[in-house]
């Protein structure tokens, strides 16, 4: 009966809605700020993610069928559809798991394979996943990817298997996988800090995508750390879950509309941990 006791005791620790101030026992809240002014759409982040996280390369046929596995994608938008290339000008939006504070994917998983960690991450427990794919259906950003096939059979032919990251498993068919904010790097940094009896320092480590970005568009850090660069960026651009009095904020009401910070699909109240800085373009009227 200890498991029942455990369930009862931990019930209140489950993810709370934004109205209750979200998850209550955060140790860290890993977050990002992505400057779209700096993003040049080079896909280095996406490639770095493939290398770091042992993502399966599915090939053009499977990609065309919608069986892709990239955890991070760079979306391309044409701002001025009435014009022609190159005057038209593309915008880019790197999109990965938004690690929502009130994630729609979490409550719907029938076996709790996805849950909220004290680090503010939406963790995905591959061993627990039975592949009902409800989480993906309920994810408004569509950033969860499903292993439709046993990709390991064809993704890394010899000797490419030698480049697989030994810190991670290779997932098999039937499980849902997603961006983890490079949880293996987070773990390593936290362990190191614990050994040295200190807190994780800002900039001590970063995710693979942020590390690979040639223009430094991606900033990664702890939103609970008031000194971190990410926290400062969020504060500067007045993007926040709560207002000055600590009350939950349902929409971005900025005092200065010139500020560029926003979160995708903010009106759904999913409380994402990723803030984007809008791209500002000079256009001829």
């Amino acid at each position: 009966m200890s498991s029942l006791q455990n369930l009862i005791n931990n019930w209140s620790q489950y993810r709370k809605g934004i109205e209750e101030g979200g998850f209550h026992h955060y140790e860290h809240r890993w977050g990002m700020a992505i400057d779209l002014n700096a993003c040049i759409g080079c896909n280095a982040c996406s490639t770095a993610c493939y290398a770091e996280n042992n993502l399966a390369v599915v090939g053009p046929e499977r990609f065309a069928k919608g069986h892709f596995m990239h955890w991070m994608r760079v979306e391309r938008y044409w701002d001025q559809p009435e014009k022609e290339f190159p005057e038209q000008g593309a915008s880019f939006l790197p999109m990965m798991c938004q690690q929502c504070g009130a994630a729609p994917c979490e409550p719907v998983c029938p076996v709790v394979a996805t849950y909220h960690t004290p680090d503010g991450l939406n963790a995905q427990v591959y061993n627990r996943c039975i592949g009902s794919r409800y989480c993906n259906n309920n994810c408004p950003y569509r950033v969860r990817y499903f292993n439709f096939w046993s990709y390991y059979e064809s993704s890394w032919p010899e000797p490419l298997n030698m480049q697989l990251n030994p810190d991670l498993t290779v997932r098999d068919k039937g499980v849902m996988e997603k961006c983890t904010f490079c949880v293996q790097r987070i773990r390593t940094a936290k362990d190191k800090a614990k050994m040295e009896n200190r807190k994780v320092k800002d900039g001590e480590f970063t995710t693979a995508c942020a590390q690979a970005c040639p223009t430094n568009a991606i900033h990664f850090g702890d939103l609970m750390d008031p000194e971190s660069q990410v926290t400062k960026l969020w504060a500067t651009h007045q993007v926040s879950r709560v207002d000055e009095q600590g009350r939950p904020r349902h929409e971005q009401d900025k005092q200065n509309p010139e500020l560029r910070g926003y979160r995708v699909l903010e009106e759904l109240n999913t409380d994402p941990s990723v803030m984007y800085l809008e791209r500002v373009r000079e256009t001829l009227a």
Partner: protein, 473 residues
């Protein structure tokens, strides 16, 4: 006067049917069906073989055989709702009509209940088939695990598991309890392995007063228990969608809409099976046209209810001015799914008007075609619930249109074979018309006629006069 009015109408059942003949006619179904029955068995076996092969291939290679991003739920879930829905009319017909003492249900409720049980058993396959790792499906069941890994009680998918298992258990029990007196009749009229089977199953029924009293109570209790259960089961299935945040799914009218749709497709299926059984076993005497007409009227009423709820849903999306929801609705009406959408509207809302005409209601081939088309419409309805929302969700980057693969279609076909086979085997092994209740029906009918005759002509009632009405019921 009311009795005379009833008397002048066409009767649900011949009132001079001897009880002996009722036994003979119905037990005949255990022996010699028409050749059409065996053809149906062969068709079902072929379909099942196709579906099973497809499932083996899918198991071997992975879900890529049938799905893609972002259409994580597709044909399987649509078909799952379809089968769950079909299971609801058995309960409607047997439990609700039993409670309101509608006599005409008596010759036809047994097969409707069998349909409930078997369509639930078919429905249960689909959530398992659609899992990525289906060998771990039991993780949704809250068994006491040593590692403390419980299912997520907040997920509608877990609720589904509990609801469907409860419904399956109780409807199977209801079917079995209601069959007890008939199993005893079958026991007394058969030999060989059938005799051994019915002896075991009839639990020593000998028809004494105490057994009947207990039986009536148990049956009524089960009926009362099943009604809210049936409503809650399909409401919970609708929660799979309504509890999500997706545009087009996040709709408060979903539970009643699903329940109405369930009763609708179930009634249509009852008409189909009614006609088939009537043909297979030459049961024109029991499955009469007046009874068929009554189911048709019921179906028509439910069809109108379903149409109304459909319109309410559209109207509330339109009026609510939810940008995303409107986009999905508009996409259904004009986009790639438009043919399916308008077929659904035609089959679901326009076609049932054929049920409103007496001459069509009594024309068996027409009713057969209409009932099948109604179910096609209801299947399309489920398809229209699942697919367009996933195709056109919040995020335009992921917009896509998909058409299921051959593997999915094969598995869906296989499910029809599976259901058909279970059903056909059932009607051959068990008496699928309730003998004791048909006898009751004949008796009530006689009683009413005699009463009416006594009131009009003043003649002394000859049969059943010594009994009070209450005793008979």
């Amino acid at each position: 006067m009311k009795d005379i009015a009833i008397h002048s109408q066409e009767k649900d059942i011949r009132e001079d049917l001897p009880w002996k003949q009722i036994n003979t006619d119905i037990l005949r179904s255990l022996d010699n069906p028409r050749r059409g029955y065996w053809y149906s068995i062969i068709v079902c076996l072929v379909l099942l073989a196709i579906g099973f092969t497809a499932e083996v291939i899918q198991y071997q290679h992975g879900m890529g055989m049938s799905k893609n991003h972002p259409h994580m739920w597709n044909l399987y879930i649509a078909t799952f709702i379809f089968w769950i829905g079909m299971s609801h009319s058995g309960t409607l017909l047997s439990a609700i009509l039993h409670i309101v003492h509608a006599d005409w249900r008596k010759p036809i409720y047994r097969f409707a209940e069998a349909m409930t049980t078997f369509s639930l058993m078919t429905a249960l396959l689909f959530p398992v088939i659609h899992l990525g790792r289906l060998w771990n499906f039991y993780w949704v069941v809250p068994y006491i695990p040593s590692r403390g890994t419980w299912p997520n009680f907040r997920s509608p998918l877990s609720w589904d598991g509990f609801a469907i298992m409860t419904y399956l258990t109780s409807s199977a029990l209801f079917l079995y309890i209601g069959m007890l007196p008939d199993l005893a009749i079958a026991r007394d009229n058969t030999t060989g392995w059938r005799k051994r089977l019915y002896s075991t199953l009839s639990l020593g029924w000998c028809g004494n007063d105490r057994q009947w009293r207990v039986f009536r109570k148990a049956y009524m209790l089960m009926a009362i228990f099943l009604i809210p259960l049936a409503v809650s089961v399909h409401s919970i299935v609708s929660s799979d969608f309504a509890m999500s945040i997706n545009p087009g799914w996040h709709v408060t009218t979903f539970p009643p809409y699903f329940v109405a749709g369930a009763l609708y497709s179930g009634c249509a299926a009852i008409i189909t099976l009614f006609i088939l059984l009537r043909y297979y076993f030459r049961w024109e005497e029991y499955m009469t046209l007046p009874i068929l007409e009554k189911i048709c009227k019921l179906t028509f009423a439910i069809a109108m209810m379903w149409t109304y709820l459909n319109l309410v849903e559209f109207a509330s999306v339109w009026y609510g001015h939810d940008v995303y929801g409107k986009e999905v609705l508009w996409g259904k009406m004009t986009g790639a799914y438009a043919p399916a959408f308008w077929s659904m509207m035609f089959f679901g809302s326009v076609l049932p008007f054929t049920l409103a005409f007496r001459s069509l209601r009594r024309h068996i081939p027409t009713m057969m075609a209409v009932s099948i088309l109604l179910n096609v419409g209801m299947w399309l309805e489920r398809w229209m619930i699942v697919s367009p929302t996933l195709s056109q969700s919040f995020y335009p980057w992921s917009w896509d249109v998909m058409w299921p693969t051959l593997t999915s279609w094969a598995i869906v076909l296989g499910s029809f074979g599976w259901f058909g086979l279970l059903f056909l085997v059932f009607v051959k092994i068990f008496p699928s018309v309730s003998m004791y209740e048909v006898k009751e029906m004949v008796y009530h009918r006689k009683l009413a006629t005699e009463k009416a005759a006594a009131r009009v002509g003043g003649a002394a009632p000859a049969y059943g006069a010594h009994m009070k009405k209450e005793d008979a019921v």
